[in-house]
């Protein structure tokens, strides 16, 4: 029996030896893999298990002054490949190319380098295409998300907001100027992945949303911007103008309430437009202002004391010939005082005043009023004025400059200098961004507003304001710029354009403009509207002045600015007209006013984006009865910002940790 068992025992022994040897070999290999450093194996491990997820930065949102979104970020799918892992059959290449709308050659070109581990196949595709690509289940072809920019208001203030490139960098406008605040750094997150490439999150909580850049609140008001764009479009189309621009500014502090450039552009579809329409004309385009500049010639003369309000000037056509050229007028008058020069836009008299001032004094004034420098607006590529050296001026050049020919300015320079007249003589620096806020509520400190630099004396500002009111009077050149109920100070301009071929002023190509401010008694809005090469109705007083009147009239009503001019009022349901005086005496109207007692109300402040501490501090200053709901950053409030709020009304502010959570 024992003898019989021996071969079995031998076989068992051999099996045992083989098994033990195999096991020992495995142990040695395991020891080798686990404990001996090997770069090749480490790299293989990294490739198989480690997954790097690049989190592209979320750009801050751009809002208008009322909190309406003008530019927002949205995650959009993009398709990429790892050519080192990709081996596509011909049918797969065809299907993939068809989904991504690429030619076969383009796709093969992208995938041909098998040493590469990453290549974009197509960025910013639609979600349906992404699902179709994923359904192909091709090894080495992946989808990821990137932040893309959307402009929900489409053409509204498009050239001011600007746009970004595919890599999320601001290329134009506010997007470019404030790029460093709007952007945040991209993050790379490391996670493990399983055999199917799915991420496995473990350890510390992963960050799925990269830190968001600061949000910007512009000074632009979407409603006023809409008024401007609507009127510019209508007037430009009716007159056949090649281009147009408009700016509305608060003359007291330089806040830009609207800024538009026609033709308009939809920043969501830049591929359908040419780069020439992307320019923000009021800041970037230089033009000869024409007669609107007479205001500043007269300002310079008043400042230099070479002009008195009662002084008479001979202004008949043909009465002034310089260097063989005769200066002409549109409206014929023989003698005019300073207010009449503006009212009838008289070139001869403006030239006489310029000649009386002399080259040096007028050049100094042009510099002092800011026409040779950039205004300092927070916008890229701002142009500065153009003026030849005063030493080279002959009398004809000096005369031309006096009525706005032979000098190049921007619309933003004109409206800034006009604002100084409106506010009593102080220089203003125009600005477009009111405040910037990081997601945690931290505010970016910007230096803004009113400068204490005086460029006109109060007397000059007051006189010019009064004379400019005459322009919009019944017989003034800019009567179409008048607004019923409001005193309006304005000035028309129709400047000839230099023919690029001959270098001479064209007889039919002009720039028509109107600038002004209202209400003249306490200016709230200053504006300029300029039309390039209108085909018909080309005088500034005929084309640009009505645009000013409609835009500013609508804006003043919208802003709740009461009229400063006496006018009859039609009282609803009574069918009777009352003068202002009678209206005051009317007990029923007065009773209605007292019943409402608006003095008990005020506009609710905007606490959104603030921390609890900041809200409590502000509320204490405003004596508000605030109730805090939640913790973190304020996201909502009752009543909403700007709504009427009585002094003892409860005020609720809702806070959330969400924004803070996204940053940790």
């Amino acid at each position: 029996m024992r003898h019989h068992d021996r071969p079995v025992r031998v076989r068992l022994g051999i099996c045992l030896i083989i098994f033990i040897s195999g096991f020992a070999a495995l142990m040695v290999r395991a020891w080798q893999l686990q404990l001996i450093a090997d770069r090749r194996i480490a790299r293989l491990h990294e490739q198989q298990l480690d997954r790097q997820i690049k989190l592209t930065p979320q750009r801050g949102v751009i809002y208008d002054a009322k909190g309406i979104q003008l530019a927002v970020g949205l995650r959009i799918p993009s398709i990429f490949a790892d050519p080192s892992k990709t081996k596509l059959s011909n049918s797969e290449v065809r299907r993939l190319a068809s989904i991504l709308q690429l030619s076969l050659r383009q796709l093969q070109e992208k995938l041909k380098n098998h040493e590469k581990r990453f290549v974009w196949l197509k960025r910013h595709v639609d979600p349906v295409s992404k699902e179709k690509v994923e359904a192909l289940k091709i090894h080495g072809i992946y989808a990821t998300y990137e932040w893309s920019r959307f402009y929900p208001q489409r053409e509204l203030a498009a050239q001011v907001i600007g746009f970004i490139g595919t890599d999320g960098v601001g290329l134009e406008g506010i997007e470019r100027f404030y790029d460093r605040f709007l952007q945040s750094e991209s993050l790379v997150m490391h996670t493990l992945q399983d055999a199917k490439g799915r991420p496995i999150y473990s350890g510390n909580p992963p960050v799925l949303e990269p830190e968001q850049g600061a949000s910007l609140y512009l000074t632009l008001d979407s409603t006023i911007q809409h008024f401007v764009e609507k009127e510019l479009r209508e007037a430009a189309e009716n007159s056949g103008s090649k281009a147009a621009m408009g700016v509305v500014m608060d003359p007291t502090d330089g806040r830009i309430l609207a800024m538009a450039s026609y033709p308009f552009v939809n920043p969501n579809r830049l591929d359908q437009s040419t780069s020439s329409v992307w320019r923000n004309r009021p800041v970037e385009e230089i033009f000869e202002p024409g007669s609107t500049f007479k205001v500043f010639t007269l300002a310079a003369a008043l400042e230099a004391q070479v002009l008195s309000p009662t002084q008479n000037f001979l202004c008949r056509k043909g009465s002034l010939t310089l260097n063989g050229k005769t200066i002409s007028n549109v409206v014929e008058k023989t003698w005019l005082t300073a207010d009449g020069i503006l009212k009838f836009s008289n070139n001869v008299c403006a030239a006489r005043i310029g000649l009386a001032l002399g080259r040096e004094r007028i050049a100094d004034a042009i510099f002092k009023f800011g026409f040779l420098e950039r205004t300092g607006i927070d916008f890229p590529s701002e142009a500065k004025g153009l003026l030849t050296k005063s030493e080279t001026w002959r009398p004809i050049e000096l005369a031309n400059i006096s009525f706005g020919q032979g000098i190049g300015v921007t619309a933003i320079q004109m409206v800034s200098a006009l604002s100084a007249i409106a506010n009593g003589g102080h220089a203003v620096t125009p600005y477009l961004v009111e405040r910037g806020v990081f997601p945690i509520g931290k505010e970016i400190p910007f230096q803004r507003g009113f400068q204490k630099i005086r460029i006109f004396t109060p007397r000059t500002a007051k006189l010019l304001g009064k004379w400019m009111e005459g322009v919009t009077g019944p017989d003034g050149s800019g009567f179409a710029g008048a607004i019923p109920g409001y005193r309006v100070a304005g000035k028309t301009g129709t400047a000839q354009i230099v023919e690029p071929t001959s270098g001479k002023y064209s007889n039919h190509r002009v720039m028509s403009s109107f600038m002004g401010f209202a209400p003249a008694s306490d200016p709230r809005l200053a504006a300029i509207f300029v039309f390039r090469e209108p085909q018909h109705a080309d005088y500034g007083g005929v084309l640009a002045a009505p645009v000013f009147s409609r835009v500013i009239s609508e804006s003043l009503t919208y802003l709740g600015v009461p009229p400063d001019q006496k006018m009859d009022v039609l009282v609803a349901h009574k069918g009777q007209h009352f003068s202002n005086k009678k209206l005051k005496e009317n007990t029923e109207i007065e009773k209605l006013r007292q019943d409402i007692d608006l003095s008990q109300y005020d506009g609710a402040p905007d606490f959104r984006g603030m921390t609890i501490r900041e809200v409590l501090s502000h509320a204490q200053k405003l004596s508000l009865n605030v109730r805090i709901v939640g913790s973190g950053v304020a996201i909502r409030q009752e009543p909403a910002p700007g709504k009427l709020l009585s002094k003892n009304q409860p005020f609720k502010v809702y806070f959330t940790q969400d924004h803070i959570g996204e940053r940790t």
Partner: protein, 99 residues
Amino acid sequence: MSKMSKRGVVYLALLTTLLVSLLYVRSRFFLVELSYKISRALESKSSLEQEKRELSLELSTLKNPDRIERIATQKFGLKRIQTSASIVMTPKGKKHAAP
């Protein structure tokens, strides 16, 4: 008896080792399972946030002044108010009313 108890100890040790190993494997399995759950929850959070962003974008689009004016004039036949037809009532001591 003593031989049996030695064998018992060995079996017990083996059994304990087996149990501990099973528990360890189970805990690792549970951990991976949990990681997948976290992964799904985070993806869901991210997609909800995306939805919120899309809705907010849609709301902004609907607030477009041009669109509102078009609906007001074409659908409801409204007209823009003339300055002369409106009375601005300002709070006492204030220069203008809130817009």
